[in-house]
Symmetry: C2
Subunit: 157 residues, 2 copies
DNA sequence: TTTAGTGCGACCATATTGATCGGAGATCAT
DNA sequence: ATGATCTCCGATCAATATGGTCGCACTAAA
């Protein structure tokens, strides 16, 4: 339930690794290739490659071809949010379908739906939570932001 | 991504309906059967039945057999949290596998895993969010606010 | 006893995810 | 400049999870 996919897991691990290499003290600025990450974390090489390709396509990382090539963060670790990473891999994060109804399909329950509004509230809260936490926060053991439940302010209608 | 299942959706709708009938002004205390809910919200009857059975088994609602039978909330709407409902249908809500490693299988990345702690933090925050909101919060008599949201795609990168 | 209803289990279809393969493009060494 | 090698990249296949269905046993009221 509410589980994130393995691809998303791999993406988070890879980005964390790239960030720690790029901004670490040992070899700052070094590019890191797919094989290195795959071996370090026991991730299937090809699958990880695919994940990195998507991240690259979505502008989170930059790719450098050829020998000595590899990946590089496209911007600072503090400017990459968890929400961006997850959405990049798995599309818009919506806990319910009816938040992005295209004209073709719209849910049969819609007209009498009684849970739409509360669900959208919850969805929004989760998004804020994920969007307020950056890749940078995941690194140096920096304490996370604490979210406050929306039930505190009740559910408007 | 992070989408909740249809079964969970149905569970929420059904419980909301039962609660509104039970504590409503029209026919307070009336039991409501599966067919009524299924027709009201266009939910496949058998699937809804299965969902209600699970909810009953987990002590969220009480079932009454025979003619004039049906379902009834097992306790007050304010004592039933969204988290309880979701967990009842889909098992423990964990965004990552490694939060409940049984001895048999544990993740291959574990030893070098760099994202475990942050993920557990996020998971905890989401759980608090869902556990602080009750079925009672979801109700309130004015359903069906139709939100035309053209800004639904307003996420820039 | 009949009838309307729930309880319960097994079963199939489909959608999503996980994993794999072969090729294209770019860079370094010679 | 040219070949060889290493990387990125797109399309394809398999496994798993989910959504949905069917049939029958059990219970209680009329």
């Amino acid at each position: 339930m509410l589980k994130i996919s393995k691809k998303a897991d791999y993406a988070l691990m890879a980005l964390q690794h790239i960030a720690s290499v790029q901004f670490g003290d040992v070899t700052p600025g070094r590019v890191v290739n797919t094989k290195e990450i795959a071996e370090e974390y026991n991730i299937p090489l090809e699958l990880l490659a695919k994940v990195l390709q998507v991240l690259s396509k979505n502008g989170l990382i930059e790719s450098h071809n050829g020998p000595k090539g590899g990946y590089l963060l496209a911007r600072s670790a503090r400017q990459i949010t968890i929400a961006q990473i997850l959405e990049s891999i798995e599309g818009p994060l919506a806990i319910t379908d009816c938040s992005h109804e295209k004209d073709g399909d719209y849910c049969m329950q819609r007209e009498h739906c009684n849970i739409r509004t509360p669900l959208l509230k919850i969805q929004d809260s989760i998004y804020q939570l994920l969007n307020n936490m950056t890749l940078g926060d995941m690194m140096g053991g920096t304490p996370l932001i604490t979210i406050q439940s929306p039930s505190a302010q009740g559910v408007e209608r």
